[in-house]
Symmetry: C2
Subunit: 350 residues, 2 copies
Amino acid sequence: MRQKRGGRAAGVTMEDVARVAGVSAMTVSRVLRQPTLVNADLKAKVEAAIRETGYIYNLVASSLASQRSGIIALILPTVASSIFTDSVKGVSDVARTHAVQMIMAETNYSPAEEEKVIEALLRRRPDGFVIVGVSHTRATRALLEKSGVPVVETWDSTPTPIDSLVGLSNFDAMKAMTEALVAQGFRRIAFVGTATRDRRAQMRAKGYEAGIAEAGLGAPLILNADDLTSMESGRVVAERVAALHPRPDALLCLNDVLAAGALLAFQRMGLAVPGDIAVAGFGGLDFSSHLNPSLSTVDIPRYEMGQKAAEMLIGRIAGTAAQGGTCEMGYRIVLRESTGSSRPAETQAS
Amino acid sequence: MRQKRGGRAAGVTMEDVARVAGVSAMTVSRVLRQPTLVNADLKAKVEAAIRETGYIYNLVASSLASQRSGIIALILPTVASSIFTDSVKGVSDVARTHAVQMIMAETNYSPAEEEKVIEALLRRRPDGFVIVGVSHTRATRALLEKSGVPVVETWDSTPTPIDSLVGLSNFDAMKAMTEALVAQGFRRIAFVGTATRDRRAQMRAKGYEAGIAEAGLGAPLILNADDLTSMESGRVVAERVAALHPRPDALLCLNDVLAAGALLAFQRMGLAVPGDIAVAGFGGLDFSSHLNPSLSTVDIPRYEMGQKAAEMLIGRIAGTAAQGGTCEMGYRIVLRESTGSSRPAETQAS
DNA sequence: GTGAAAGCGCTAACAG
DNA sequence: CTGTTAGCGCTTTCAC
């Protein structure tokens, strides 16, 4: 609509709309952002002009001028796993409600990668961050604090969040499941899926250990898996577990994906679940209730965590919420067929 | 680092870095974008100044000045389903390689919502779009064409893409699976999951119909499900199918999620799969090979489609690829235990 | 190789 | 309620 400095034709700008409507650019801006402040007649004229010209508001220019990008960044370990999709949806739904765009980046469970990713996203000047996890490099923490951007951490707990927290005690939750298995009568309970690098995995493993210790069941048995987010990995571990002497009478898994992989693998090798070995997972994923036998799991409010985190963040951005806000989410031990409960029992907790 | 018009302290700017390094802002900009054009000494000084000041490059300002946002937008039906996660990863991986940020938005399988979402994203001035699906409202198509932004459509096929295409023939793929079931000896094959609104679902249903017709098997039997992306839905449909007289001898599902839900539900009600009824899905999702019995499916290159689409888009943006580029992806019929093959047979196609 | 000037398209702040 | 002015922080263009 204009030719500038020999450049190619740019798009329609607010100025163009203003000219067509016979008003100033500021009035167009107001119609778009605070319509109630504008006289109805002018507003109508401007709206007509927008339609006529096919104007598309430029949020890049708006962001620069207003020092507000209308973007919130979501940092998570991986997008390719079903574990976080509900949390993503929770954040995304709240973001949409507030006319904010969510952008996502993954860290592959690596604090070093997280640092890079956050640094890269900071260049887009997001209005805030939702970060899965509370374990970061020193530099990440410093970077975030220096930037002054509101941050909500989630999916883990800590007394010292960077800014605000939507917490979940992985330790407590996995300990509770361990205790539930003990209460069901299992005595040789093995655990799959510790990873030195991931704090949430560690906390779950520790919760298991604590549960075993308190029950006086002797040494805990922790197995590792290379990849903690695939059913294939669960299958591989199941083969190792099946070969153990004595064989564990229950296998507690870091998450439902591993658990499902293990459960199906046990069946395939002719072991009865829960007759020969019980299986339990963590996460409360949809498919767990559909398996045969249905899978016992620790149900956690994945969607709600995302939702709550986004809401807190929006509050922090708007200035209506103070720094240091914390909200602890609960979990539910869901005992199903895979741990030998004939009828599903559900325990509310935390 | 500066106080302007009584505003709060803004962050460190390029100007600040330039001052510290004793050069002009332009030189700082060059160090960041075209380092080879800058004298090594100055470059070192600038880099030191960047470190010293903790400068974080501002991509918002950069985008406005350069008319390039470094953002590509991915439009897909839903993020909460495992069906698209691999494609998302494909796009995202390629984007990262090219230092481009991917942003995502979902349409909930609705062209009207798609229109809104694309309009909203256009305000961020993305450099390009990857869109899942080829069915759009007139307005969407016009908007995209007028904007002049490169677009790559994918996951479906059409002779008239908006711009470029990474195609998949849902019709051919589902027809091939239907033929494979016929070849396995099934005669009363039912289909689950047509949705009037979604073109890809329609094409798969039509592929099924064509397969049935060509085999001379009489009238096709198509069942609907409310929600086409949940196992629960598959379970509900399975109950209806089990009650049919005569009962179908095979159930072909729109996707693997429905198929898994149905398969597990059949087992739960005491029907043998494939003995009493065979089940097949579509999508080649990971879990399908882990089920007992393992699930027959149409494997499609989900990750590669995302990857290819992103690569084509980047080419279009860079100007190295011409409009109208098309690339057709293939599929693989994977026959496993759920359709009674004793040993897995795999057929390469298209 | 490096720098100065002139924007990119919008909004904050103020004046009326 | 509406308009004017002066940027937001960078890059383009052109001169040196």
